[in-house]
Amino acid sequence: MSAWLRTPVGMASAATLALLLLLPAILPELMPQNQARFWLANIFGRAIIYGIIAMSLIFLATYGGLVSLAQMSLAGVAGYVVAITIDGAAPSIVGGLSYATAIPLGIAAATLAALFVGLVSVRTRDIYLLMITLALAMGFFRFVETNLAWFNGYEGIRNVLGPSVFGLPFRDPHVLYYVSLTVAVLLYAGVLYLVRSPFGLVLQGIRDNPRRVAALGYNVALHRIAAFGVAGFIAGCGGVLATIYNIGISPGSIGLGATVNVLIMSVIGGLGHPIGAFIGSLIFAFFDTFAASIYDRNRFNTLIGIVFLVIVLLSPDGVIGLAKRVGALMRRD
């Protein structure tokens, strides 16, 4: 550990973490009080929360070669389970549960749903997987949008206020920020650990050469389904946070736009390392919030589409890849 901290990557990681921990104290120095709170919760907090969901996509893509567009839906499964079971949601569909019960239930549901997605798509790869996961995601979206008994249809379920953390309300920007940051750091570290485990190595083996993995005695399907489960767990954590952040969930939270947004975040950040998820979602949150000031609000989608296209054309591995290449160029000089 201490040796790792002396490597450039280790030092950069430690510095970034320190910066993120101190962010609530730094922001008020840079901008008025109310804006500092806004940035904390709605730029950085939001970026971290959606970054978690994007990380579940990047985990599958980077280490499994599986680009899944179902991750936002899986996050939505967790969010909906919490919204359906929690006490005080409006409308109350099942209700009666505390957050301490509802949240693990939601994450478990997302994990199970992810295992199902893995099972359905286990024999497909690459572009087929992209198509099938997109179709599954849209199937779930359409179901949620039209089903009233369980999901309250188009209007969704509101008033999911979130638990109190150490006696402080979740709605407070600092609580929201620190809880999201803690969850994100734990999951991020978990991913980095997992990819060095036999499971992670085999997963990367499957990415490079599934036939070889099978010839070595591994059950490829089992590992792939398990990878989906892990990604579903991550997406579920993100989905619970996103639902609480949005004070509820509705079909729009998991629609085509939301699904593509997660892909955009991942690709902008870079499908090469989990950190790309957070970089991408931060860039996205920034653009999404300030597009009206930067550019014509009405043409926000053209802007984000062009940014996305340029990144895919110039640097298929996103901002991280771009940074690496610029770094390599500078070293050469």
Partner: protein, 294 residues
């Protein structure tokens, strides 16, 4: 349910399937030869419909009998031009990088949708079919039935036969089929593969444009149809088997029937019927009903 109602619903499913087939066959054709998953296929549908409408509207106002046919031609041409431009400028040089191509087309679809909104606004619009195919006809066992919907089936059959003839009876078709099996072999034999690619992309895009005008005559054209028809194309080819025209037809019929029957029997859950079919097919035959293992 009366037998008349049942027949009507089945006929509805088939006419809807005809539209789905026209749109999805273009998607399937492009995928079959090039392995390019064109996530902007729905956008091409939309381009065809809106541009076709722009030509159709003044002609219709001027009472030109050919207004609708001109709209069809214009829609197909516009979609083909956009499709060829996509292939030449962006997709051609990254041939083989399937995922990157899919991402590029996703980016394009976002931009195209927004630009169409900017040019044409958010109002829904709808074509008026020419008199010859408007109104309703008498169908035995069903009664009066919209003529245009029957016409849709006719167009789909013509498209299906046309594609079959093209693929099985022409030199270009021979090359396309050879390319499906082995692209390297094709280029080793001295065939101009990029040119074949452009031809196929133009054809696939033109079919999306044709679907756009026909679809916008049967149902209103509005923002959001791009995502809808992309999704339908995806599901149809996943169910039917990627790259197979027969499979696309079977997939379209299954999806069209499922949609209409589901809506009639259990409206609340009808939307998932399509996806249940997809999951079942994937579980039993991951390559789709007519797809080949590779």
């Amino acid at each position: 349910m009366t037998s008349q109602l049942a027949l009507t619903i089945i006929l509805n499913g088939l006419t809807l399937a005809a539209l789905y087939f026209i749109v999805a066959s273009g998607f399937s054709l492009i995928f079959g030869l090039m392995r390019t998953v064109n996530m902007a296929h729905g956008s091409l549908y939309m381009v065809g419909a809106y541009v076709g409408y722009a030509l159709w509207e003044p002609l219709y106002d001027a009472d030109a009998w050919y207004a609708w046919y001109a709209g069809v031609a214009m829609g197909m041409a516009a979609a083909a031009i956009v499709g060829v431009a996509m292939q030449r400028v962006l997709l051609g040089w990254m041939q083989g990088q399937e995922l990157r191509q899919a991402l590029v087309t996703i980016g394009l679809s976002i931009i195209i949708a927004d630009q169409i909104l900017a040019y044409y606004g958010g109002n829904p619009r709808q074509f008026f079919a020419p008199d010859a195919i408007f109104g309703s006809s008498n169908v035995p066992g069903v009664g009066r039935y919209p003529t245009f919907r029957l016409f849709q089936i006719g167009v789909a059959v013509v498209v299906g036969i046309g594609l079959w003839l093209l693929l099985n009876r022409t030199k270009v078709g021979l090359m396309i089929r050879a390319g499906v099996d082995d692209r390297d072999m094709l280029s080793a034999c001295g065939v101009d593969v990029p040119k074949i690619n452009i031809i196929v992309f133009a054809l696939g895009a033109a079919l999306a444009g044709l679907g756009g005008v026909i679809g916008a005559t049967a149902q209103p054209l509005a923002q959001g149809v791009d995502g809808r028809f992309l999704l339908i194309s995806l599901v149809v080819v996943i169910v039917g088997g990627m790259g197979s025209i027969t499979g696309t037809a079977i997939g379209a019929i299954l999806v069209g029937l499922a949609e209409q029957i589901g809506q009639a029997l259990f409206p609340t859950y009808s939307v998932i019927l399509t996806f249940v079919i997809m999951v079942v097919v994937l579980a039993l035959r991951p390559q789709g009903i007519m797809g080949r293992l590779r």
